[in-house]
């Protein structure tokens, strides 16, 4: 079935290294997205007209542009137009953070405006000051909502990293392709074994994370 190829030489290690690259890029991007997203979300909840219009345009771009298109624009377009050569991995991180910040920002804004006024009022009615209200009542509620959603963003980032092979980064899928190319003649079924393994690897990484996200969402809602 082609699985035997994986046990030859360093083949399986190479796949895992590819997976490592994918995970590294997604973790860095998620980190950046969470920080920038919080700032963006807070800004958006202020209802300043200029910020509202600009953030609307930004969100809509992310909403309708495939990540692959954005990846091409940054990787191929920027070097051509601006003369700056951005390495593939940096391009990937830029695009994923650009996308993730928009998603996070929208989530943060949604959480902020979804806390009902009565929560503030009942807290004031108990004699709490504004700072205490935020510290004990509002922020804990927001964090509880945000954590499952941001964990969910991680799995989506990881899945999207499969695109970066298209700009030449050797992640799992590309590593898989290379292994297939090298072993095609000796084991004709190699494509099945390798791609099934890649499929499974992605599943084994993403599934526990999305289960965790689901669990937290249920527990905290």
């Amino acid at each position: 079935m082609g699985f035997e190829v994986l046990f030859k030489g360093t083949n399986f290690i190479r796949l895992l290294e590819g997976l490592g690259v994918a995970l590294r890029i997604s973790m860095i991007s998620v980190g950046i997205s969470i920080v920038l997203g919080m700032i963006l979300g807070t800004l958006m909840s202020l209802k300043n007209p200029v910020i509202t219009v600009l953030s609307r345009i930004y969100l809509e771009i992310v909403h309708i542009m495939p990540q692959m298109v954005l990846l091409f624009i940054v990787f191929f377009g920027f070097s051509k137009v601006m003369g700056i050569n951005i390495p593939a991995e940096a391009s990937a991180i830029i695009v994923f953070s650009f996308w993730g910040t928009a998603e996070m920002g929208d989530l943060v804004r949604g959480c902020l405006i979804s806390i009902p006024m009565i929560q503030y009022e009942s807290s004031y009615a108990l004699g709490m000051r504004r700072s205490k209200t935020y510290l004990y009542v509002i922020i804990p509620q927001i964090i509880r909502r945000l954590i499952p959603l941001s964990i969910n963003l991680i799995t989506r980032m990881i899945k999207t990293t499969s695109l970066i092979m298209m700009i030449g980064i050797v992640e799992v899928l590309k590593a898989g392709q290379q292994i297939i190319e090298a072993n095609r003649r000796t084991s004709p079924h190699v494509a099945f074994g390798v791609f099934a393994t890649v499929f499974l690897l992605y599943f084994l990484v993403c599934w526990p994370i999305s289960q965790l996200s689901k669990y937290l969402e249920k527990r905290w809602s």
Binding site: M1, G2, E60, H63, I64, M65, P66, Q67, M68, V69, F72, I73, F76, G77, K80, V81, T155, K159, T160, T161, S162, L163, M165, M166, L173, G176, I180, P188, H189, A191, F192, V194, F195, A196, V198, F199, Y202, F203, C206, W207, S210
Partner: protein
């Protein structure tokens, strides 16, 4: 900065890619709705065995990237004797991925319909299938319109990976032209324009439909 002659020369090529992307995209979405309705009905009625199959399917396809699914179907399965054309692979791949998302969405819509709705329909003498089709499913669709629209947009965006299994879609056209003639700016410009043509109307229509569906049931 942008050469208009190059643009005019490239437009026909992009139009071809555009139609391919649209065709595969919407056929895949249609398939995903079919899968979603059937699979969520299986879960709703707690059909033995099939429910477990649906659950495994949903988890598998929601937790893996489309590109990997496509590679597996297109390059992996022929080894076992299943040959699928690139177009067929694109439709089936998108349909399977989308089906797993639609199943989750429709199922949570079905769960959100109060059980008393089922009871009062049953009390009127309606059969289980009648209750599902006439009472529960329409309400599930109305409440999950925003999520369904989000799924459609997500799936249309996912079409951008088709070029990896050598389908000559928009992305493929752009990549090809960049590689061949180095007209990067013009190619990327057209790529963006055509994706806007595909997705902006859906995004706008989605917002309108969401408002209508909400109004019909909730009145605000």
């Amino acid at each position: 900065m942008i050469d208009t002659d190059v643009i005019t020369n490239y437009i026909p090529l992009f139009v071809d890619g555009f139609f391919l992307t649209v065709k595969i995209g919407w056929l895949g979405i249609l398939l995903s709705f079919l899968i979603g309705i059937i699979a969520s009905a299986v879960l709703h009625f707690k059909v033995p065995v099939l429910s477990a199959v649906v659950k495994v399917y949903v988890e598998l396809f929601r937790n893996t990237p489309l590109l990997v699914q496509l590679f597996f179907i297109y390059y992996g399965l022929p080894v076992l004797g299943f040959h699928v054309s690139a177009e067929g692979c694109g439709i089936v791949g998108l349909g399977l991925l989308g089906g797993s998302y639609m199943t989750e969405t429709i199922r949570s819509g079905l769960d959100a319909v109060p059980p008393s709705q089922t009871e009062s329909a049953i009390a009127l003498g309606m059969s289980r299938p009648q209750v599902f089709w006439m009472i529960i499913l329409p309400q599930a669709f109305s409440t999950s319109v925003p999520a369904l629209v989000a799924n459609v947009i997500f799936l249309l965006k996912e079409t951008s990976v088709f070029s990896a299994i050598s389908l000559m879609d928009l992305m493929f056209t752009a990549k090809d032209l960049i590689g061949l003639y180095y007209d990067t700016t013009e190619s990327l410009f057209l790529l963006v324009v055509f994706y806007i043509i595909i997705l902006l109307p859906v995004s706008i229509a989605g917002t309108v439909i969401e408002k209508k569906a909400r109004y019909k049931i909730f009145g605000s």
